[in-house]
Each structure stands twice: as structure tokens, then as C-alpha cells.
């Protein structure tokens, strides 16, 4: 390095070889990108690649597998439990997303109005999202308990309108809806806080202009709020769909896929088959089967909602 220092001192002398190397653009690009590419490769590309590779093999725990082509997928296609899990995942994602966005938007609109203790209320709203999922799952497990459920207690003993306990998790549809309710509870804060951020970017003078133009409250919502919120909504929707579609913790902690596989999502079934069941190849195949659904959902929300003509072009305000 002394040569570099010396050459910097004397302006007439050519820079040393190291200095010249660092001035060479291709070298700089490689050096700067290397850490990021390295991290992505080790922590993202490798596990994903391994998962995809496993789905084409008959690997079991403790035994290296052989390449079997599409055999895993072919057997899944004939597997009613797999198709049940696909059905469950779609129902779970669709219902939970609709409810999360309906309630989340409503909550965001409320929080956007003037109210006392606004900062405190906003902080409280975030709680369901901050609590570790497994903790809240255990809370819901108790709430849905066949014997000790607080809801059953309320309707049996406090307001005696029922004679029996609710059977939340024992029947397919009640179990599915109970899980959806838990997921909605957990997912609302993310939607509400994100949409609130979106709402706050809408200039108040737009509402004033609309008010003078004769718009009623509903019309201001319909013609100003909704279109202005669309870009944020699309991004939040995409994330929410991905999170919900790949949900694992809530279901696994509350029902483990029961009763009789009625609440298995693709993610829980993949884990069930792959790890406790030992069929790594088959589990990986179920997980890989989620990819097309996710890509489709992302593309639809991105192209359908996120890109708006009025957003394009240069802007200076």
C-alpha cells in the first residue's frame, strides 16, 4: 500500500496497480455485489433449489433418494388428501383475505379520523401482529377447547342460550372457520396499519375539493379514497395472500390438520409428510406445488391492481 500512498502524494506519477484495479468498473461491480449475491445464494437459492430437487427424488429421512422425475407429482395428483389440502388452502386464503381487508380497511378508516388517544390505540392495534404466532395459537387453542372454551362458557353459563359446549375443532367446517377467525385476528393489524399509511398520503385538499364538488361521504370514499389507495392496497394484498397461503404455525399449533385432515393446508401437509412422515421427496413435492399458485396470485394482484396509468410518468409533487 505504500506505493499507492506515494503515488497519491506525487500527482505526476501513475497510480499503482491496486488503485488502478479499484478504478476498473467491472472489478468494482463484482466486489460490491459479491456479499449480496453470496448471502442470497446461501440462504435463499440453495434451500429453494434443494427443495425443488428433493421433489424430483424419492428421498426419505436417513436415506439418499434417486431421481424419479415427476413420480411424486403423479402420485399427488391421485391423492384425495392432497386435493383436500389444496381446497382447504384456497378456502382459507380467500375467506381470510376478504375478511382481513374488509375489517382492516374499516379499522384504518377509523384510525384515520380524529380520535383521542390515537397513538395509544394504534399501538394496541398492532399487538396481535407482534405476539409470536405460536403464543396466540395456544391462546386460540384454549378459546376453542371443547371443554374449557371461554366462548362456550359465556353462552352456556353467563348468557344461558345454549345447553352444550361448542364443538369448534371437532367437525370439518367449524374447524376451518375457527382457524380462519384466528388468522383474521392475527392478520388485521398488518392490513390496517399498512392501509392507514396509504390513507395518510392522500392530500386532505382532495377531500375538500370533492366535498365542494358535491360528493357525499360515500362518494368521497368511492371516488377518492379507493382509487388513491389502490396501489398500496395491491401491494398489501399481495403480501397478505402470500402470508396466508403459506400459513403453517396457526394450523399446526391448533389442529395439526385435524379432524381427519379437514384443516390441512398445503404447508402443514408438506411438513406432515416430509418430516414426521419421513417422506422428504413427497413433502417437497407438495411444497413445490404451492409455487404456481403463489406466482399466479402475485401476478394477478400486481398487474391487476398495482400498475395504474395515472401513476406513470415523471412527477414533481
Amino acid at each position: 500500500m505504500t506505493s499507492v500512498a506515494e503515488s497519491l502524494g506525487k500527482t505526476s506519477v501513475q497510480p499503482g496497480p491496486i488503485a488502478r484495479l479499484f478504478d476498473w468498473k467491472p472489478f468494482l461491480i463484482v466486489i460490491c455485489l459479491l456479499p449480496a449475491v453470496g448471502l442470497l445464494t446461501v440462504f435463499l437459492t440453495y434451500p429453494l433449489g434443494l427443495g425443488v430437487w428433493l421433489s424430483f427424488t424419492d428421498t426419505k429421512i436417513g436415506r439418499d433418494g434417486f431421481f424419479v422425475g415427476l413420480e411424486n407429482f403423479a402420485s399427488l395428483a391421485r391423492d384425495p388428501i392432497f386435493w383436500l389440502s389444496v381446497f382447504n388452502t384456497i378456502v382459507y386464503t380467500a375467506l381470510a383475505t376478504v375478511l382481513k381487508f374488509g375489517l382492516g380497511l374499516w379499522l384504518a378508516l377509523l384510525l384515520n379520523e380524529y380520535m383521542p388517544f390515537k397513538a395509544l390505540i394504534r399501538a394496541i392495534v398492532l399487538v396481535p401482529w407482534i405476539v409470536p404466532t405460536v403464543l396466540s395459537a395456544m391462546a386460540f387453542w384454549w378459546i376453542y377447547d371443547p371443554q374449557f372454551s371461554i366462548i362456550s362458557y359465556f353462552f352456556k353459563d353467563v348468557v344461558p342460550i345454549r345447553e352444550q359446549n361448542f364443538d369448534f375443532l371437532g367437525e370439518p367446517w367449524p374447524a376451518r372457520l375457527s382457524l380462519i377467525a384466528a388468522n383474521v385476528w392475527r392478520g388485521i393489524p398488518f392490513v390496517a396499519i399498512s392501509l392507514l399509511a396509504g390513507l395518510q398520503t392522500i392530500s386532505p385538499s382532495l377531500y375538500e375539493a370533492a366535498m365542494l364538488d358535491g360528493a357525499t361521504g360515500w362518494q368521497r370514499f368511492r371516488y377518492v379514497t379507493v382509487p388513491m389507495l389502490m396501489p398500496v392496497l395491491a401491494v398489501v394484498l399481495t403480501f397478505s395472500v402470500i402470508f396466508t397461503f403459506t400459513d403453517f404455525q396457526l394450523v399446526y399449533a391448533i389442529t395439526r390438520g385435524g379432524p381427519n385432515n379437514a384443516t390441512h393446508l398445503m404447508a402443514t401437509l408438506a411438513f406432515q409428510r416430509g418430516i414426521p412422515g419421513g417422506q422428504l421427496g413427497e413433502g417437497a413435492a407438495i411444497a413445490v406445488a404451492m409455487i404456481p399458485f403463489l406466482v399466479a396470485a402475485t401476478l394477478i394482484s400486481y398487474f391487476g391492481l398495482a400498475r395504474r396509468k395515472w401513476q406513470q410518468g415523471e412527477s414533481n409533487d
Partner: protein
Amino acid sequence: MASVDIIDAAKSFGAVRVIKGVNIPIGDGEFVILVGPSGCGKSTLLRMIAGLEEISEGQIRIGSRVVNDVPPKERDIAMVFQNYALYPHMTVADNMAFSLKLKQAPKSEITAKVDRAAQILGLGPLLQRYPRQLSGGQRQRVAMGRAIVRDPQVFLFDEPLSNLDAKLRVQMRTEIKELHQRLKTTTIYVTHDQIEAMTMADRIVVMHDGIVEQMGVPLDLYDRPANLFVAGFIGSPAMNMIKGSIRNSSFETEKGNHLPLGNAPAASEGRRAIYGVRPEHIHLAGDGIPAEVVVVEPTGAETQVIVKAGGDELTCVFRERITAKPGETIRIAPELKVVHLFDADDGRRLSA
């Protein structure tokens, strides 16, 4: 079209009284400009007329109707906002048509009105563009188009030109004035720029600290400012003001120099006063007061010179080109007919 009457109107935000009871009658078809420094309450008053702020005390009438409790959309007014408030997700045509669509006007009527407004403002080729694709001046025009389409009783403008560059501002000033001459709709316009006020208004209302300082036609305000505030606010560069007192029909400054007075107000001998003379009313005169040149600022059309006369700094604007250098002495004299005298205590105008 309608008259607007502001009667003893006041506005408080909590304990802070930002408008302290103002009375402004505005005639049908008049172009009135509310002007004043930032925070004087002019925008708040405009928003009270629009119905975007509640009226704490007093009354506002549009036509013969008291509108204190009338919601904004029923007041039949249109407002142009400082940031234009165009709906970014609608084309220019949709922006202008929005209010008519809400009224469920027939399509043919909407098209006719939008086309007419577009033609008045030269927006024809831009109708299918989005606000993002427009320049500042074009957006400004769309905002006005949105107001024109409504054909309201009153136009309200809230500092509409302050986001434009200087050249465009001059051009839009003319356009807005032409528009008013053409449509003859009662217009209330808020600005902090006294040049805008002077050039456009039928009548100016100068506001300061929530009260009306003076109301009148532009040249009246320039020729006969009612008090020190108006004298200092209207006119650019600002009026020179020198403290002193009236002695022997002339004005003695605090530093002991004498300035000529045309005709001193009656019974004012010895009274403490402020001597006001506009920079453009100071002329070069061979027998004038000697003054040392401090700075010379030629603008081409005229020359602005800052001089020191008897310890007081004065700004002068000469039509002639001044060749004097800083440090040299020139002789100047105020034009006696247009010298203003104000009371030193309450700032009110003394001279007739």
C-alpha cells in the same frame, strides 16, 4: 352569481382567535382580493366562506342566504386550491366533469360544459391526459376549468399562483382577470402577493392579525393608505418611513434633519409623527437634500438607489439612469403632494 356579505365574522381555534370579527361586503360580480402577510387569517376566512371551516361568530351570507349552517356542497361555490387538488386518477376531462357526474347531469350536458370550459382555457388537446402529465400552468388551468364547469355563484381562489414560476404567474394573472371579465362571476381571491392584488382586483381587502386594515380600490390603497401597515404592505419597494415630529410646517426627523411638507395637517405643531414617502416619489433635484449613495441597483427600466440622508436610510427609485457611485453625494427631494404622514402612536393616517 351573487353577492357575499361577511358580517362580524370571527374564528377561534381553541383559545386562539385568528379572525377577530371582520365585515366585508362583496358586490355581485365583483373581483375582491384578500391580501395580507402569512398568518393574517385570509385563507381561514376564505375556507369559512367555502364551508371548510366553521364560522365561530357572526354571519356569512351568499346572496340573501345565511350559509353558516349550510354544508359546502350546497353553497354553490367553486374553489381553486393552492395545490390545485386535482384528482390524480382522473383525466383532465373527468376532473372537470366530476361535479356534474355527481349531480347525475345528462351526458350531453356534461360534454358540452366540459368542452366549453376547455375551449375557454385552451385545454382542448389535454382533455385525455392525467394531471401528472401536465405542467404547473396547465394544472392551474384545469383547476380553474373544474370551477368554471360548475357555473357557481362564487369563485374562491386560495393563493392559486404561488406554486408557479414568476413568468407564468404574470401570464396566469392576466388569464384569471380576463376570465373574470368574461364570466363576471363574483370572485374572492386570496394572496400574500400585493402585486397580484394591485393588478387583478376590483377591490382589495388588506388583512393583518385577523382584522381588516383597509378596504378599497387598488389605487386608493396605494394613494391613501389608511395606516402604517397598509402603507408598508402595498407598494414595492416598500414606502420609506422616518420617525420624527412636525415643526414649523416642516418635518423634523429624530436625528434633527428637516424634510419638506406640502401642507401640514391642521393643529399638528409639535406632534410626533411618521413621514412616509414612496421610493418612486423621490426625485433628483439640484436644490434638494444632500444624500450619500450606499447601493445602486439598476433594473434597466429604472434604477433603485439606497441613500443615507441625515442618518436615515432611504430607498429611491429613479426613472433616470444614475451614474453615481457608492460614497458620492446626490441631491434628492420628495414629491410633496404624495408625502404621507402617520400618527406615531397608533399608526393612523394624519395627512388628508
